[in-house]
């Protein structure tokens, strides 16, 4: 089992000047490629005993007993697969986000919007045997950020995902269907492929909404494929 080479046509390049922070943090050399070895094809596994009963429920996992986070109640759910459409089971997904007003519970975030005493802004879960995941949260607010102009992030939830192999490790962000800030955001627009941006955009899913309680959004994730292809053990880009 090995890891298929990454298809960079769907990935942001390192240097994206309109996203200013990349200017001094993007390596100027092209990354070197080698045949993935046992190190890249293996990865850490996490047990179900790691996950507490409310870790995946951001509406209550930081709230005072009997209280809930402020904002639009939503379920986010989807399936984690690889590029061969195989579900990835028992994969750790961690999420974090701003509160309904666009404020993060982080000591470095000083945005004007208030903290919600009942919202921490993080959660985690393992995918089930079919690669499915689901968590409850509140819809985060957009927030302004320093990038040299009047830049606002679209509402988003950050995702960190482990696959079966460390080379599948991925961090990304989920956006919400219909948000006009998606097209305006220099971070979203680091992605060169419109289809890839569309796949980061969750869709309202009324079929999984609970009447008089909570609406659902559908968001599917894909990790790199693993296959038997033999690689020529030659460094590319060297």
């Amino acid at each position: 089992m090995t890891i298929r080479p990454r298809d960079h046509t769907h990935q942001p390049p390192a240097l994206t000047p309109a996203y200013r922070s990349s200017q001094l943090r993007a390596p100027s050399h092209k990354p070197l490629r080698y045949a993935p070895s046992r190190t890249e094809a293996t990865g850490p596994t996490f047990g179900h005993d790691l996950i507490g009963p409310t870790d995946h429920d951001l509406i209550i996992n930081y709230a005072r007993p009997g209280e809930t986070a402020m904002g639009e109640r939503i379920i986010v759910h989807g399936v984690l697969r690889d590029e061969d459409a195989r579900p990835v089971p028992n994969a750790l997904i961690e999420v974090w986000q701003a509160n309904a007003g666009g404020r993060y519970r982080h000591k470095k975030d000083g945005y004007l919007a208030p903290l919600d005493p009942n919202f921490g802004g993080c959660g985690r879960m393992l995918t089930d045997g079919e690669g499915r995941f689901s968590f409850r949260t509140i819809r985060p607010g957009p927030y302004p950020w320093p990038n040299g102009g009047n830049d606002w992030r679209p509402a988003h939830i950050h995702f960190s995902i482990f696959g079966a192999a460390f080379a599948q490790r991925l961090i990304t962000q989920m956006y919400f269907e219909g948000d006009p800030h998606i097209a305006l955001c220099p971070i979203v627009q680091t992605i060169p492929d419109p289809g890839a941006i569309d796949r980061l955009t969750a869709r309202l899913d009324m079929a999984h909404s609970v009447p008089m309680d909570i609406r659902a959004y559908r968001f599917d994730l894909v990790l790199r494929g693993r296959d038997q292809t033999l690689f020529e053990n030659r460094m590319e880009g060297a």
Binding site: P27, R33, W96, Y104
Partner: protein, 182 residues
């Protein structure tokens, strides 16, 4: 299907991955990956440490680093040693530190031997796709290291001082660390 596009981890990655660094009390106060060692782990204890610098030489104070490594016998399936660690860089200095063991050489299915190494993955604000590199402890021979241009090879070799191994990362510039697309 196509791999989901990456997006930067942003400046607040700590909330989701190392909440105590954000000042957030979650998951019973235990950051995942903070502790790699237990008394059951066999192998030479080492401290892998360094500083991440940006292209201006400034410390990168908001990064998250993960490492993945074999055990002292070069194996990835040791029940006593997960082989995975996660740390944030220091909010003032950009320094990081992992207390772990020296990995053994890894033998591949075809018998090829990789010299002891630790895989390192770096995410932060301004990094659009996580950066992967390998930390080595001497200059080989190794099938990966041997193919890196000689002039850049030293960026992949930790400098030893007793049990302390220093590995500074330069994201850009004259000393730019070699990163891999693997």
């Amino acid at each position: 299907m196509k791999e989901t596009a990456s997006q930067t981890a942003g400046p607040y990655v700590h909330i989701g991955c190392v909440p105590s660094v954000a000042g957030l009390e979650m998951y019973r106060g235990q950051d995942l990956g903070a502790k790699m060692l237990s008394p059951d782990v066999t192998g030479e204890r080492i401290t892998l440490h360094g500083v991440i610098h940006d292209g201006s030489g400034a410390p990168v104070t908001d990064a998250m680093i993960e490492i993945w490594q074999a055990d002292a016998e070069g194996r990835f399936d040791n029940p006593a040693f997960l082989g995975w660690g996660r740390q944030a860089t220091d909010a003032q200095t950009g320094a990081f530190r992992f207390d772990t063991i020296l990995p053994g050489p890894v033998t591949q299915d075809d018998g090829t031997r990789h010299a002891p190494h630790i895989l390192m993955w770096i995410v932060a604000r301004g990094i659009n796709l996580g950066l992967m590199t390998r930390v080595y402890f001497d200059d080989g021979p190794d099938p990966v290291l041997d193919q890196v241009p000689a002039a850049r090879r030293q960026t992949l070799i930790a400098q030893r001082d007793g049990p302390k191994l220093r590995f500074d990362v330069h994201l850009q510039g004259a000393q730019e660390t070699v990163f891999f697309d693997v």
